[in-house]
Symmetry: D2
Subunit: 350 residues, 4 copies
Amino acid sequence: MQDTIRVAVVGISGYTGAELARLLAAHPRFELTMATSRDNEGRPLQELFPELRDTGQGELVVSAPDTEDIAARCDLAFLAVPNGAAMEMAALLLDKGIKVVDLSADFRLRENKTYTYWYGMEHTRSELLQEAVYGLPELYADRIAKARLVANPGCYPTSAILGLYPALAEGMIHPEGLILDSKSGASGAGKKLKPDFLFCEIENDFRPYGLGGVHRHTPEIEQELSGVAGKDLTVSFNPHLLPVDRGIISTMYADAAMGASLDDIAAAYSSRYRDTGWIRVLPQGEIPRLSSVRGSMYCDIGIIQDRRSGKMIFVSAIDNLCRGASGQALANANLMLGLDMGAGLGPRVV
Amino acid sequence: MQDTIRVAVVGISGYTGAELARLLAAHPRFELTMATSRDNEGRPLQELFPELRDTGQGELVVSAPDTEDIAARCDLAFLAVPNGAAMEMAALLLDKGIKVVDLSADFRLRENKTYTYWYGMEHTRSELLQEAVYGLPELYADRIAKARLVANPGCYPTSAILGLYPALAEGMIHPEGLILDSKSGASGAGKKLKPDFLFCEIENDFRPYGLGGVHRHTPEIEQELSGVAGKDLTVSFNPHLLPVDRGIISTMYADAAMGASLDDIAAAYSSRYRDTGWIRVLPQGEIPRLSSVRGSMYCDIGIIQDRRSGKMIFVSAIDNLCRGASGQALANANLMLGLDMGAGLGPRVV
Amino acid sequence: MQDTIRVAVVGISGYTGAELARLLAAHPRFELTMATSRDNEGRPLQELFPELRDTGQGELVVSAPDTEDIAARCDLAFLAVPNGAAMEMAALLLDKGIKVVDLSADFRLRENKTYTYWYGMEHTRSELLQEAVYGLPELYADRIAKARLVANPGCYPTSAILGLYPALAEGMIHPEGLILDSKSGASGAGKKLKPDFLFCEIENDFRPYGLGGVHRHTPEIEQELSGVAGKDLTVSFNPHLLPVDRGIISTMYADAAMGASLDDIAAAYSSRYRDTGWIRVLPQGEIPRLSSVRGSMYCDIGIIQDRRSGKMIFVSAIDNLCRGASGQALANANLMLGLDMGAGLGPRVV
Amino acid sequence: MQDTIRVAVVGISGYTGAELARLLAAHPRFELTMATSRDNEGRPLQELFPELRDTGQGELVVSAPDTEDIAARCDLAFLAVPNGAAMEMAALLLDKGIKVVDLSADFRLRENKTYTYWYGMEHTRSELLQEAVYGLPELYADRIAKARLVANPGCYPTSAILGLYPALAEGMIHPEGLILDSKSGASGAGKKLKPDFLFCEIENDFRPYGLGGVHRHTPEIEQELSGVAGKDLTVSFNPHLLPVDRGIISTMYADAAMGASLDDIAAAYSSRYRDTGWIRVLPQGEIPRLSSVRGSMYCDIGIIQDRRSGKMIFVSAIDNLCRGASGQALANANLMLGLDMGAGLGPRVV
């Protein structure tokens, strides 16, 4: 029997916090020792999440976020706080020797000015931007394993990057003219009290939003895909809101590079993703669906070539809360602490 | 008080049949005199559609399809039967002097060989292919008004053609490289008994299907857009299944032609669609949503230019059953019989 | 061509306001002349409800609620404001000669102290409680036709009263021991910004709430059913929240009175509801479903006797927004102004 | 490392089969060695359930059901076949020394004639009816542990019996006049190809069905509750179909026995269910919701007393596929094979 590793979730009250609690309950080594939320201080977790009642975890009393306290009682902290609120918190925790997985966007962009442009505020801890490792295990497992601070990827970027990375890395598609048509479930917006997110506004509806290069996940996708492609590229990223709670499907359109056939490209995906664990490259002719990845770490990828136009179509499916946020955060924490990447991230849930 | 016009719905038992019944109930001039369905002969309509109980219409007894009978008792017939079953039925009815609006695909494609290629059967009444008018009122109102036989457009093509027509007609986008990413509610597949369409298979799911140029609506879209553009074009049409009952959103990507600005293009849409009644070109910056067109004839169109890639993005939203099928059929019938195009097609429903 | 009757909707921004706007758009005589909302003053209606764009109605600019203004420009006002906010507004409008249909609960209970007990506030216009007519047309059409002030029934009470009234009025069920198990769609809660009403909290969920006699519709149901039964009765009313936007099904359990058979009871329902227009008593063995009444004024009623316990089971289905709120308000306004009760309330919508 | 126990799922293609596959994938000791389905012989499991791809389990090839084969290769079989098809299969497997958990209704009713009355066929293996143990672990764990044949309870009965058992066992409610108003998700009907179960027929709908004592789960509920109460009782069981995939909420109404207070009753529930693992008796004033038990073995119970009528209201919530079928089957198999009852049935899933 190995020692327990104590972890904190800072900002437990949102959907990513709830998902972290769910996943930590099944983790063989991690124990959720602290859960913080300014608005819910003093309440047991099961008041916020009735599904946790009598699970052992549900009785944990929510505390106010206090970095001293976290440092004294935990080995690693997951930050599930709003953009802008994480940067100082992360710095303080790192100073006290605590490892940090940040689920906000604060450390995802390497360029200070890019952050300021897209998030409309100064980065007060920009010295950490270069140190932070972008937490996509299929690309950066080695660096994550040595990191003090991991910037957990956004949900859309996880879907987009995993779906395009092998083709770009191998130069099999043109890096220009990429069109990303992404569709996400409503939990991707978080637990925000806005009329647009009420049940009656989403049920029976479907809506594109943030079209045309204005969504904040755009620079994150471009940063990572540019890195993979070895040259700066621009994408047209266009998100849509699905009437489901969980999941993202990205349908992505690209031009094949001269000489790259569908078979070549499919082989490259299979090769790049062999033995990575969670990427399932579907056989030719099969297309991912959201329900196959629900609640799991899987990313299902389908590759199709339009028989008329020749266009390459890449479809990726993930669960935005698990693979696109909290489950990926857990995988990063596993790596940072020397555990098996998949510890506690079992095959699949409902 | 004007005379009643007697109409038949041949193949009442599916979703388009039900929608026709719903709409006809509110029509000022049409009366549903015959409703046929081989499987439901002898049953009152309200057994098939409990919402019609005690509406006057619900008591109508379903009969077997008999062209003699239809010709004797009706002025116009709506054919809501499967592809392949409509061609003979239409020919027989025309021979007897009955006007026909065909909701199947049998008369949508002008080329016999294109029909055979996509639908996998011979067209036994190909002599009617040139006579049949494609029933998209915004494009062909004059010809529809004089037609004996109208081929009612498919749901996806309605959405695609209305969304791209002005830009192509004005030469403001390149006719090459068009990418159509369309998302449809489940009623678009009809009332088919396949496991894929069970509630538990669609709820909590979202799935692309028929990607890469294999969906049968592809040639219909290409035929009409080629006509509009004045040259043969190829599209990459990619449908997705939404977990909603009704509605289609198409997000369509195109390259602006040299010199065509977003403002120019928006102005062309406003101009082309002025006074057409059901096309709502949204103000710049606004994006259509499915719920705004539910149960109505509206087609909402949003035009966006990607600020990074310059790509033009056209979004169109329709109700697939009303605008994309039965409501459009009714508008065509209105035109064919000299009525106001919008008769019985009130502003909007739930 | 008859004159237009000008009406105001005070509190247009919620779901009942939107439903009033939808219905008024199809009304042959009423014109929505004023729409008020403190939070949305100066905005055109179509900004609040994009489905109204270009309908004529969508361009109406929302104003602040001003009774002088309403009196000057309207003949009747619909109050769709919160409980407690309607009482003064109604009194002021009545003083100025304007007829009022109040969709709040302020004038539904005839006893001042009952109002105070259940709504936790003093009624400042209790002198109007006796004058206000409870706006259930099947019971009180004559009185509604002469009323200045109509208290529009609650959604659950509409469902419960219509489902039990004939049996109670005929003494065919015991007035004691009534159990009402009601299930409502989410729009019944209004457009409130509470976490419980977010999409992700309702999708995939179903929850009882307010069980055990604590829901505020309880006294309203008891007041009306006591009146019908001719003696004070108590019900056990138990609401549940369905993951749908619209509709209420109440499953109600009662003991048959000595000598009353299922046939007797069914005959009483058919007799009482003959010629009332919107009540559909289903044939024996049939059970209502929500989708049959969606968007309509219908109330479908099924009557079943448990073959083992002998218990009588009454099932009623309504659309909570149309029949249970705004449509019923419109029917009341029709009666108050001498129009046909059903004017503008067509057969059915999607 | 302990030995693997080999199990078969006979009838893998339905929803309970899929749920068994999901749960077995996470089980520490059981290995799914055979999966049978006449219609899918020769296909790998991942073709039926794409979510199983690359999980190790997905590659298992479906075979035709052959009792010799099952006996040769497995230690225990789960029968997930239709009612009537299980009885012979179970008998043959028992003869060959294989333990059986039967998810059909074939061995749930102890009286041969009751089976024939409700299921409309003769029981060809009625000699096993007395031997079969009703597989509700909270009531019969000891007997299950010694059984060769366990009749896995129906989903509604699991919900009803767990919700009422302590009150009846303690004589705290009257056994007469029980009203059970139950609401189930659509997977309860299985993967049947009937128009009623298509997505468009359930979305936006809610419908009672089988009201008045005609649902086949009625005798099963009565058999078990009669046993608990120590006298024959009759219930009014009334099911409803929810527009969700999973879950059952039963709202159950009873009269308190003389002298039994709400506190007494609540205390009896807490006492009876202490240390049983999966029953969560909620604190007074709290009410179960479906989402809290989704995908889990939990049964959440709320106890409320109507403050006006004095009626006792018991609410139970379960996941119909996990607790109400496949998860419970696994718990029974655990007991039958000497494992911990909860092995492989972790805390909770999405």
